[in-house]
């Protein structure tokens, strides 16, 4: 077996010379990485917007505006309204529907809370969408990359078994190409994990804000109903 003195170890040739299975692993990792980065950016934008909208609505709400006006504004800007605005809208709609003299205040307030709770859960689902994908990529892709590497190294050593005099030059290309799979797995996993932690924290903070708003808004409505 003749080993060339100078071997072309560029990334492209390494990938091109890898075995089919390793190439498939690399392709899968590349796709995973592409999608995870896509969701990282998307999530980043949408969470930024959700925070901004929540800030704006809280400011508008606590600046002492008329609840009816706020409700009208929320209904009119349905398309671009934020999560908190929707929670407020559904709660206030339920409240104004049920608020009739003779209705029990406790029942009205329970119905309002339930309506707000339902909207809250939908909004949370939207906010948390795709986060589980990031988590899976972060935890699984290192293993997938490792699998490709192990397979590549197995092949490299199997090729070595037929040679009488083993030199490093005969194993090196195989190991290098196998290690590319691990590198790609890590490249996909690290940003995904970091982004997942960051976004999960953001979503949690938003959820806390929503819940406290719901409680406070219920109090306000109850006071209004009692008055």
């Amino acid at each position: 077996m003749n080993v060339a003195v100078t071997q072309d170890l560029s990334v492209v040739s390494l990938i091109a010379n890898a075995s089919v299975l390793v190439q498939l692993v690399m392709l899968g990792l590349l796709l995973a990485s592409l999608f995870s980065w896509y969701y990282i950016f998307r999530k980043y934008y949408s969470l930024q917007r959700a925070q901004r909208q929540t800030d704006e609505f809280e400011k508008a709400f606590w600046s002492g505006g008329n609840l009816n006006e706020l409700y009208q504004a929320a209904v009119n800007s349905r398309h671009g309204s934020g999560s908190l605005e929707r929670i407020f809208e559904s709660g206030y709609r339920e409240f104004s529907k049920l608020r009739r003299p003779g209705n029990d205040i406790t029942a009205v307030m329970d119905a309002t809370r339930r309506a707000m709770r339902a909207t809250y859960q939908r909004e949370m689902e939207l906010l948390e969408a795709h986060l589980s994908f990031l988590a899976s990529v972060g935890s699984v892709s290192p293993y997938v990359g490792l699998f490709g590497t192990v397979w590549g190294i197995m092949n490299a050593f199997r090729g070595l078994a037929n040679v009488a005099q083993a030199t490093l030059a005969q194993v090196a290309p195989g190991i290098a190409e196998a290690l590319i799979a691990t590198a790609m797995g890590l490249f996909a996993a690290i940003p995904a994990v970091v982004a997942y932690n960051r976004f999960a924290g953001d979503v949690n903070r938003l959820a806390t804000r929503f819940e406290s708003f719901m409680e406070e808004f219920s109090n306000i409505l109850q006071r209004q109903a009692a008055a």
Binding site: T6, W37, R49
Partner: protein
């Protein structure tokens, strides 16, 4: 109620573009940033000399002396045109005054004398001018001669420099030749030393084999010569059984020699790996009865 339909998620396109950009950047980093190409250095051949005569330092020949442009020999300035001297104006004629005869005579004499004087003066001036012109001519000739002399001297100097340069070159040439000869001599010495060592070890191998030869089968043949070939390992053992290349004429004698070769293992080999290489495929002329 389809509660997601009325949502517009921001930055879908931007996210896709950014994700692809991140990967392209990473790939570019991988291709350009990491030097994956490894170049094995080519084999280097080195001659080791244990005692080479110290080489005389060969200096590059000095650059030939610059031939500076000669200062142009300026043609001597044209001699100033001898100024035509303003001729003395003839003195205004004295007004004829009625005078007595003697006085007139005197006057005539006086006039003649004056005219003579005037002529003489003119002639003197002319002579002087001629003399001055001649002197100028002489000076010019002298200057020309000097310039010529200077030129000759410079040419001589140049010739001397050229000669010197040629001599230096010859010297360098000679030194180089001497050095080459020394190297060749040394190489020859080494080769002959090597040949001597080879012979020496061949003799030792023969001696050792001879000790193990059973003499009887060969005794009848007088002094036969057997040529056999053996492939030797560095430890002195034979890789394959030796082969007879030229027989002694008796198969029994050949067999005895081959057996002796095998029994004589390990054969003595020179410790120097360069010499040992010559023993890897050994062709030995062997005389068992010597």
């Amino acid at each position: 109620m389809n509660w997601t339909a009325d949502r517009d998620e921001p930055g879908k396109l931007a996210s896709g573009v950014l994700a692809v950009a991140v990967h392209i950047a990473f790939f570019a980093l991988l291709v350009l940033g990491v030097s994956w190409q490894h170049h094995a250095p080519g084999p280097v051949e080195v001659d080791l000399w244990s005692n080479l005569p110290p080489l005389p330092q060969i200096k590059p020949p000095p650059p030939p002396p610059k031939i500076e442009p000669k200062p142009e020999v300026k043609p001597p300035p044209p001699p100033p045109q001898p100024k035509v001297e303003a001729k003395p104006k003839p003195a205004p004629e004295p007004k004829p005054v009625a005078k007595p005869d003697i006085a007139l005579e005197k006057e005539k004499q006086e006039k003649a004398r004056r005219e003579r004087e005037e002529r003489e003066k003119l002639e003197a001036v002319k002579r002087e001018q001629v003399a001055r012109a001649e002197e100028k001519k002489r000076e010019e000739a002298k200057r020309l001669e000097e310039a010529k002399k200077r030129e000759q001297a410079e040419q001589q100097k140049l010739a001397a420099l050229e000669r010197e340069r040629r001599e230096k070159q010859e010297q360098i040439e000679r030194l180089r030749r001497e050095q080459e000869e020394a190297v060749a001599r040394l190489r020859q010495q080494q080769a002959s030393a090597q040949a001597k060592m080879v012979d020496e070890y061949k003799r030792r191998i023969s001696d050792k084999i001879r000790r193990y030869v059973v003499k009887d089968p060969c005794a009848a043949l007088g002094n036969p010569e057997i040529v056999f070939e053996a492939v030797l390992l560095p430890d002195g053992n034979t890789l394959q059984p030796p082969r007879i290349k030229r027989s002694s004429g008796s198969a029994a004698c050949d067999d005895a020699v081959l057996r002796a070769v095998i029994r004589a293992q390990p054969l003595p080999l020179p410790p120097d790996p360069v010499l040992m290489a010559q023993f890897r495929e050994l062709n030995l002329n062997f005389r068992p009865n010597e």
